[in-house]
């Protein structure tokens, strides 16, 4: 079975520019997550989708970050405008089910963003 796909793998932008990341989860997985992982830290959840609805976006900086999951499959995460502190790896993950016992999450390789 194919894993979680993400693109691009690397991106370098200047502050105040905008950037978008794309994620294709494992086929059939209802739940999709976007995480931010700063160097030396664990992943921090930004937003969680159940099909195409938002379940949790409490840690998403909504003044600059946005995300959508059209048709309950692929998802995009956008930053506009970027700040230096947004430099991090952005991880997409998916899981099969939602609710009750937590299913394991499958992570993509991530997109490494550098803001200069």
């Amino acid at each position: 079975e194919a894993g979680v796909a993400q693109s691009p793998r690397y991106k370098i932008i200047e502050k105040r520019q905008s950037v978008a990341f794309w994620c294709n989860p494992i086929s059939g997985h209802a739940t999709l997550y976007w995480y931010q992982q700063i160097l030396g830290q664990g992943p921090k959840l930004l937003i969680q989708f159940q099909n195409n609805g938002v379940v949790d976006d409490s840690q998403l900086p909504k003044d600059r970050f946005s995300a959508e999951r059209l048709k309950g499959v692929d998802s995009t995460l956008k930053i506009q405008p970027a700040k230096l502190e947004d430099s991090a790896v952005y991880l997409c993950a998916s899981s099969l089910v939602f609710g009750g016992d937590q299913d394991e999450q499958y992570f993509g390789p991530g997109t490494r963003l550098t803001v200069t």
Binding site: V4, Q41, L91, D103, Q105, Y106, F107, G108, P109, G110
Partner: protein, 113 residues
């Protein structure tokens, strides 16, 4: 405040020995805890899940314990191999209604031949 603490210093051990990694948490009441492995430049990979009513879980050379009184989980790798060298992350559920995972900072394990 809520915290998940893992040893920030790398753990260096000799091949064949047992590696033991610690995950302590404060002001959480998790229903379960998960352990993930992360290699450089890659996303985390799920290893084991242990629920609050389980004391111990095993999978091949891996063993996880969960002590809700001590608010601690221990992760053991027996007969460690250089291929086990990676960063190991613990994660617990932060909100039952959303299945939200809260990750620790991870501990880097280095196994020397």
């Amino acid at each position: 405040s809520q915290k998940i603490e893992q040893n920030s210093e790398a753990l260096n051990i000799q091949e064949g020995k047992t590696a033991t990694l610690t995950c302590n948490y404060t002001n959480y009441s998790p229903a379960y805890l998960q352990w993930y492995r992360q290699d450089p430049g890659r996303g985390p990979v799920f290893l084991l899940l242990i629920r609050e009513n389980e004391k111990e879980k095993r999978k091949e050379r891996l063993k996880v314990t969960f002590d809700t009184t001590l608010k601690q989980s221990l992760f053991h790798i027996t007969a460690s191999q250089p291929a086990d060298s990676a960063t190991y992350l613990c994660a617990l559920d932060g909100n039952y209604n959303t299945d939200k995972l809260i990750f620790g900072t991870g501990t880097r394990l280095q196994v020397f031949p």
